[in-house]
């Protein structure tokens, strides 16, 4: 029995070693330009995903994950170059100017038909951003109370389908181009609340929205289709298996959780919506 166990262990070790060695070469010839990994992020890239809009620093959750993935794939930090794209540029037909694109893309089956996603690197709660005056007016962290609010969301995010499926608001939500416009509408009192991923909502409530507060969160365990963030790639990109291997490796070793703890630690302590 002991023999079997130890030989199994040995087998595992060799396979892990082979795996690790294979990883260095996995990406060879599969990147846009040989020897560099081109990663795209948003313009601007937002806190806490990228600190100070400077992904090169490796500060911020996504920037840190990007460098960790690059490292696993055998690219050193100075072999990583950053480009900026909008959502639309990322899904346009034709050649892409990035190896993978990282800006909180939610993985959905519909999108999967047009582009490729890596394995998820983060599973997000959705959080309700509102203002103190709305809370004072009697809004509570219950679905009943939430249904009566006037909702807003960024049109290009998966907040909208989640809003429709989970909250089912009484009146149609208003939709906006980006976070800044949603915040303007909240501050103008045109909407009561907006749905964001939790880290973004935390940042907005603390820094951007005057009197902003988080009413509560929908934890991923509660949702049938939790919001999973993946790296976006051109469909059929051969690099995908290398990226997936790197992400698997990072999550199994606990490195991903450590990065999450470092940059997204505040996420606990927001009440759960019942």
């Amino acid at each position: 029995m002991k023999l079997i166990a130890s030989s199994a262990l040995a087998l595992m070790c060799t396979s892990v070693a082979a795996f690790a060695m294979g990883e260095g070469t996995c990406a060879a010839g599969k990147t846009l330009s040989e020897g560099t990994l081109t990663i795209a992020t948003g313009n601007p890239a937002y806190y806490p995903w990228v600190m100070n809009d400077a992904p090169e620093s490796g500060e911020g959750f996504e920037a840190a994950v990007a460098y960790a993935i690059a490292d696993k794939m055998g690219f050193s930090a100075d072999q990583v170059t950053w480009v900026r794209t909008s959502f639309d540029e990322a899904i346009q037909p034709g050649a892409k100017n990035f190896d993978f694109n990282m800006q909180q893309y939610s993985i959905t089956p519909e999108r999967e038909e047009m582009v490729d996603f890596s394995l998820p690197y983060y599973v997000s709660s959705m959080a309700v951003l509102t203002t103190q005056s709305v809370v004072d007016a009697g809004a509570e962290a219950t679905l009943d109370s939430l249904q009566g609010l006037k909702w807003g969301a960024v049109a290009t995010t998966t907040a909208l389908p989640i809003l429709a499926e989970v909250v089912k608001p009484a009146s149609d939500p208003l939709l906006y181009n980006d976070n800044a416009d949603v915040n303007a509408a909240i501050m103008a009192g045109q909407i009561d609340a907006a749905l964001y991923d939790l880290p973004t909502a935390l940042y907005l409530s603390a820094v951007v929205v005057d009197g902003g507060t988080l009413l509560g969160q929908f934890p991923p365990e509660q949702s049938e289709n939790p919001d999973k963030f993946g790296l976006l790639m051109e469909e059929g990109n051969p690099l995908r298996e290398c990226v997936d291997a790197a992400i698997t490796d990072l999550s199994e070793s606990g490195a991903l959780a450590a990065i999450e703890a470092e940059w997204l630690a505040e996420a606990t302590g927001v009440p759960v919506i019942k």
């Binding site: 959502f87 639309d88 899904i91 346009q92 037909p93 034709g94 959905t108 519909e110 999108r111 038909e113 047009m114 582009v115 006037k150 807003g152 049109a155 290009t156 995010t157 909208l160 389908p161 149609d172 939500p173 208003l174 939709l175 906006y176 181009n177 416009d181 303007a184 509408a185 501050m187 103008a188 009192g189 045109q190 909407i191």
Partner: protein, 286 residues
């Protein structure tokens, strides 16, 4: 007398048999039609067969002309388009009235009313000079931000106001050009008949001026129909925004093509109608 005889003779001979010149001209016309037809068909065929040969055609087709996505999103787009029609329907009359009022401000002639003229001038200068989107943002987010209670802070109200402000400036200028096109001898004639300034404007100048600028205003209203989509910047989910939502849901641009088709279904008939009015007016003038 002699000329009419010759004329009659020509008519009777034409009824019998076409002249050689007429035969020749008919031949030239047929040849021109034939060449136009062949050229159009070959250009059409070239586009139809050559474009799909481009290496990226399949990807473009999948992103822009995706039948499955089109079928899934088109009904939702049509529904959202009703909001565009509604916003257009209540904006257009407001724009017409405001535009007329501003045009009349600019046409006041009494010295005491000079401030009114100045206002009209400043209004048209400012609102024709600003991008529509900026006005929509400033009015749509700015005014409600002053602390108005619901429902008075609705984006529909303030967005509509923004459209009215911008478009009435254009309409005012068009109407003013119509007013200027009425020769001032008509005013003098009306004044000599004893009409007051007000009545001259109401019964003599405006009826002709407005009629003259109907085609130009039709163009503005076609443009307005498209600019209603800009209200989506401040919240309302009209067709353009709905298409954007579908775009990000399916990671596919086909919903925009669907939206474009719906827009065309309305704007092309409107443009044809404007052309028809313009031609009718030109015929009436000659």
């Amino acid at each position: 007398m002699t000329t009419s005889k010759v004329g009659n003779g020509a008519v009777s001979s034409r009824a019998k048999a076409p002249t050689r010149r007429e035969l020749y001209e008919a031949n030239v016309r047929r040849r021109a039609t034939r060449i136009a037809l062949i050229s159009t068909i070959s250009v059409g065929l070239a586009i139809f067969f050559l474009v799909p040969l481009a290496p990226g055609w399949e990807a473009v087709q999948r992103s822009f002309f995706n039948g499955r996505v089109f079928a899934a999103t088109f009904p939702g787009l049509v529904e959202a388009f009703l909001l565009n029609v509604m916003i257009f329907a209540w904006s257009a009359p407001l724009i017409a009235v405001t535009g007329l009022a501003i045009a009349l401000c600019r046409d006041t002639r009494a010295p005491a009313l000079f401030p009114l003229r100045l206002f009209g001038m400043a209004y048209t200068d400012v609102f024709r000079g600003l991008p529509v989107v900026l006005v929509i943002y400033i009015i749509g987010f700015g005014v409600p931000g002053l602390g108005l209670p619901r429902p008075w802070n609705s984006p529909y109200i303030w967005g509509t106001l923004a459209l009215v402000l911008v478009y009435s400036a254009y309409v005012a200028e068009v109407i003013r050009s119509g007013i200027d096109s009425i020769h001032h001898s008509q005013r003098s004639a009306a004044a000599s008949l004893g009409l007051s300034d007000r009545d001259i404007m109401r019964f003599v100048v405006l009826p002709q001026a407005i009629r003259n600028v109907v085609p130009a205003n039709m163009n503005l209203f076609i443009a307005l129909q498209k600019d209603v989509a800009l209200l989506s910047f401040i919240g309302p989910v009209e067709i353009f925004r709905q298409a954007g939502v579908y775009k990000s849901l399916y990671a596919n641009f086909t919903p925009y093509v669907g939206a474009a088709l719906i827009f065309l279904a309305l704007t092309i008939p409107a443009t044809r109608y404007a052309d028809y009015l313009m031609n009718k007016q030109n015929r009436a003038r000659t």
